[in-house]
Symmetry: C2
Subunit: 424 residues, 2 copies
C-alpha cells in the first residue's frame, strides 16, 4: 500500500510503522511456495501492463516537473518512460517470476555422530530497504526480486520520480494482492519526508539489509551512515592488465570493448595496465585513441603515442564513467598486481594473456569481487553471469559479493531433526 504520512509523525515513527507492517507481511510471504510467488509476480506484471495509461500519465507529470526544475538531459532520460520502456519493465518482472526459487534449497546436509539429521536451508532475509534515485524501473525490479526471494521491501525512490513510482507501485501491489500477497509486502516510503532515509539507515532490528541504487554520493552517504547492513559498491575502478604473453588481437578487442562498449557502467575499464614486454602496446593505445577515447598515461605510456596526455596522481583512483582511460606501463605480473592492490575498488579486474600460469596467479591473487582472464570487464553483470537479474553489485566482503540476485537476498537456518536425542 502507498503509505499515508501524517505531518505530526516523526521520520523514525514512520519508518518503524512501515517496517513493522512489512515484517508482518513478510511472515505471510515466507509461507508461500514457489508457484504461488511466481503466479503473484506474473499477476503484478500483467497489472503493470494494464496500468500503462496511468503510469505514463504519472510519468508525464514527473517529466514536466523535471523539465521545469531544470534537470539535466541525462537525468530526464533516466526518468522518462514510454510504452516500450514500460513493456520492458513488465517483461523483467515476468522474467524474475520464472527464476528458480532459492528459498527452501538445502545448502548441505549431514548426520553427525550424535545422530541428528542436520541441514542448512535457505530462507528469506526478512525486510529489505532499497534507496534509489531517478530510475522508476527500480521500483518494479527491486520489488520483484524481493518478493521472489520471500522478502518484504521498503522502496524509497527519488522525489523527481514520485508520481511514476506511485503509479508503478500501485499497479504492482494490485497484481500481488490478487494472488494473496499482502499489500504491505511492498511499501513505498513517502519522498516528502526527507528525514526518512536517515531513519531507515539506522533502523537496526527493523530493517535487515539496505541496498542503495544510484550515484556515488547516495551510496557514500548510505555506507557512511547506515547501522543496518549495506549491500553496495561505491566505485567501479576496473583494471585490465595486458600481459607480455597476451594475444595482440584479443588484447586490442578486449581493451576497446572493456572501455568503450558502454562507458557509463560500473564494469567499464578505467585503467589499462600494459606490460612493458607486450609487443603491441602501441597498437592497442592507437586503436583506443582512434576510437575517440582520451588517454592519460604515465611517462612510459605517453611515449607510445603523442596523443596521450600525462596522468595525475588522482587519475589512478578515478572512475571516469566516460571515454577517458588511464594507462600505465608495468614491469611484469607482480608490478601489475601491486598497482591493482593499491588502486582497485575491488569490483572487477582482468588479465589478458595466453600464459595460463600467469592467468591463474592473477585470478588467485587479485582480491576483487570479480576477477577475469581473457574477457572484457563489461561482462560484470548478473544477467551475463546467468543470474537472470541483479539487485546490485557488491564489493563488501561479507554475505554476498559481485552481482547479487535472488540467492544474495536469502540467508539460511540450521534444521536439526532428532528422534529424542539428549546431549551427554
Amino acid at each position: 500500500m502507498n503509505a499515508e504520512h501524517s505531518s505530526i509523525e516523526s521520520a523514525e515513527a514512520l519508518v518503524e510503522r512501515l517496517a513493522r507492517a512489512g515484517r508482518a507481511a513478510q511472515r505471510v510471504l515466507a509461507r508461500l511456495n514457489s508457484a504461488e510467488k511466481s503466479a503473484a509476480l506474473h499477476a503484478a506484471a500483467a497489472s503493470l501492463r494494464a496500468a500503462e495509461a496511468e503510469v505514463l500519465a504519472a510519468n508525464a507529470r514527473d517529466m514536466a516537473a523535471g523539465e521545469a526544475a531544470g534537470l539535466t538531459s541525462a537525468l530526464l532520460d533516466r526518468l522518462r518512460l514510454d510504452s516500450a520502456r514500460l513493456a520492458g519493465i513488465a517483461a523483467a518482472v515476468d522474467q524474475v517470476a520464472d527464476l528458480p526459487d532459492p528459498v527452501g534449497q538445502v545448502i548441505d546436509a549431514s548426520q553427525p555422530a550424535n545422530g541428528l539429521a542436520l541441514s542448512r536451508v535457505r530462507i528469506p532475509i526478512g525486510l529489505i530497504a532499497i534507496v534509489y534515485e531517478s530510475r522508476p524501473n527500480v521500483t518494479a525490479d527491486a520489488a520483484a526480486l524481493c518478493v521472489a526471494s520471500g522478502n518484504a521491501v521498503l522502496l524509497r525512490g527519488g522525489s523527481e520520480a514520485v508520481h511514476s513510482n506511485r503509479a508503478i507501485h500501485a499497479a504492482l501491489v494490485q497484481g500481488l494482492e490478487s494472488e494473496g500477497i499482502p499489500a504491505e509486502a511492498v511499501q513505498l516510503v513517502p519522498t516528502q519526508d526527507r528525514a526518512a532515509v536517515g531513519a531507515m539507515l539506522t533502523a537496526a532490528g527493523l530493517i535487515d539489509m539496505i541496498v542503495p541504487r544510484g550515484g556515488k554520493s547516495l551510496v557514500a552517504r548510505v555506507q557512511a551512515d547506515a547501522r543496518v547492513p549495506v549491500l553496495a559498491h561505491l566505485d567501479g575502478i576496473c583494471h585490465t592488465y595486458i600481459h607480455a604473453a597476451a594475444d595482440p588481437a584479443k588484447a586490442e578487442a578486449i581493451a576497446l570493448n572493456a572501455k568503450l562498449r558502454r562507458t557509463g557502467i560500473c564494469g567499464s575499464m578505467e585503467t589499462l595496465l600494459l606490460d612493458a614486454q607486450f609487443p603491441a602496446g602501441q597498437v592497442v593505445v592507437s586503436a583506443l585513441l582512434d576510437a575517440g577515447c582520451e588517454l592519460r598515461g604515465d611517462h612510459r605510456a605517453c611515449a607510445l603515442d603523442t596523443r596521450i596526455g600525462p596522468a595525475s596522481a588522482e587519475d589512478w583512483d578515478t572512475e571516469y564513467l566516460d571515454a577517458i582511460l588511464s594507462v600505465a606501463v608495468v614491469d611484469g605480473l607482480d608490478s601489475a598486481l601491486d598497482h591493482i592492490a593499491r588502486h582497485s575498488s575491488n569490483h572487477t579486474d582482468a588479465i589478458v594473456s595466453q600464459d595460463q600460469a600467469a592467468c591463474e596467479r592473477f585470478l588467485a591473487e587479485v582480491d576483487s569481487a570479480i576477477v577475469m582472464a581473457n574477457a572484457s570487464t563489461q561482462f560484470a553483470d548478473g544477467g551475463e553471469f546467468g543470474l537472470g537479474a541483479e539487485i546490485g553489485i557488491a564489493t563488501g566482503r561479507l554475505h554476498a559479493r559481485g552481482p547479487v540476485a535472488l540467492e544474495g537476498l536469502t540467508t539460511y537456518k540450521w534444521v536439526a531433526r532428532g528422534t529424542g536425542q539428549i546431549r551427554p
Copy 2:
C-alpha cells in the same frame, strides 16, 4: 608479534598501524596452501606445549592479581590455567589444523551463454578482530581458526588475563613463524589502551569483521557501537515446545537435558512451552522441580504444581543461564509459534512431537538460526554440528548464522575464465 605501544600514539593510530601490518601479513597467509597452514598450526600447538612453564607462570601472575582485585570465583575459574587445561588448548589447535580447508573450494561453477567459464571460489575474509574477556583459551582458539581460514587476526583480550594472553600469543607466534607465517598475522592489541576497543569497532575498511566473545555487556557494546560488521549473538533465549503428540518419556528427557545439563551455555533452554493437550505436563514439570530447577509459570503452569512460582512479564524475555526456567501452557502449535516469534532471541528453538507434520511446520516457521525437532537445544554447538570448532554462534541474518567455524570466516570471489570474449 606483541604490539609495542607508545604512550603518545592515539588509539586510532595504534589500531590503524596494527591493522595495516595485519592486512599485509594476510596477503602472505592467503598464498599458503592447506598443508602449509596445517603444518604451521601444528607447530604453534607444539610451541604452546613447549612453553608450558612460561604460560603457567604468566597465568599465576594473572591469578594473583585477580585474587587481589577480588574477582569472583567464576571469573577466576575462567582465568585459571593448569597443565591439563593448557594441553587441552594445544590439542584444540591441533584439531583446527586438521580441519578441511575451505579456502579455494569452488562453491559452484557454470558456463553462461557468453562462453565464460564462471565459478565462485572461497577466499579468506581478510582481517578479523576478536574482542574477548577473561578466558585465555580464546587467544589460541581464535588465532587457530583465523589462520586456518587464511585470515589475519587482531586479538584483544581482557586486562585480567594480560600475562596469560601474552605468553600464549608469544608461543603461538613462535610456532607459526617457524613455518613461514608472518608474526603480524596474529597480533595482540595492548589492553592498557582502553580506547583501543572503540577504535577497532569503528575501523571500517581496515578490519573486515569483529567477533565479540564474552558476556552480554561486551556483546551489546560491540553491537551498538561497531561500524565494522559484527558476528555475534547477544542472548540465547531458547524455547522447547512440547506438542500434544509428544512422546512423554522423550519430552521429559529432552526438557531435563535442555535446561539442566549445563545451565550456563547459550543453547540451554530458558522457556518451556507445554501444550495444553499434552497429557504429561505435570510429570515433566515435577521432574524439573525434583532435579532442583526453579520454575516460573503462567497461571495455567502454576496450576500444575504448587512449587511453581508466578512468572513476571520480564521472565519471558530473560536468559537465566541458571537453574531457573519459565513455563507457559499454550493452546496448540500456532500459539507456541506466536510466543516464540515474540520472545525468542532467534538462537535455538525446539519442538518435541511424534506428529511429523507439526514438526515440519515448526521447523519451517520458527525463524531462528537453529531449529530442532525432538532433540535437546544443548546440541547448539559447532562441535556437535560437525564443524570441529567454532568462532562463535551468530544470530544476525547476513553472512553466517548459527555456529560459525572455518566456512563462516571465508567469503568468495567470482572467477571468469575466457578465451577472448567481448560483450556484444
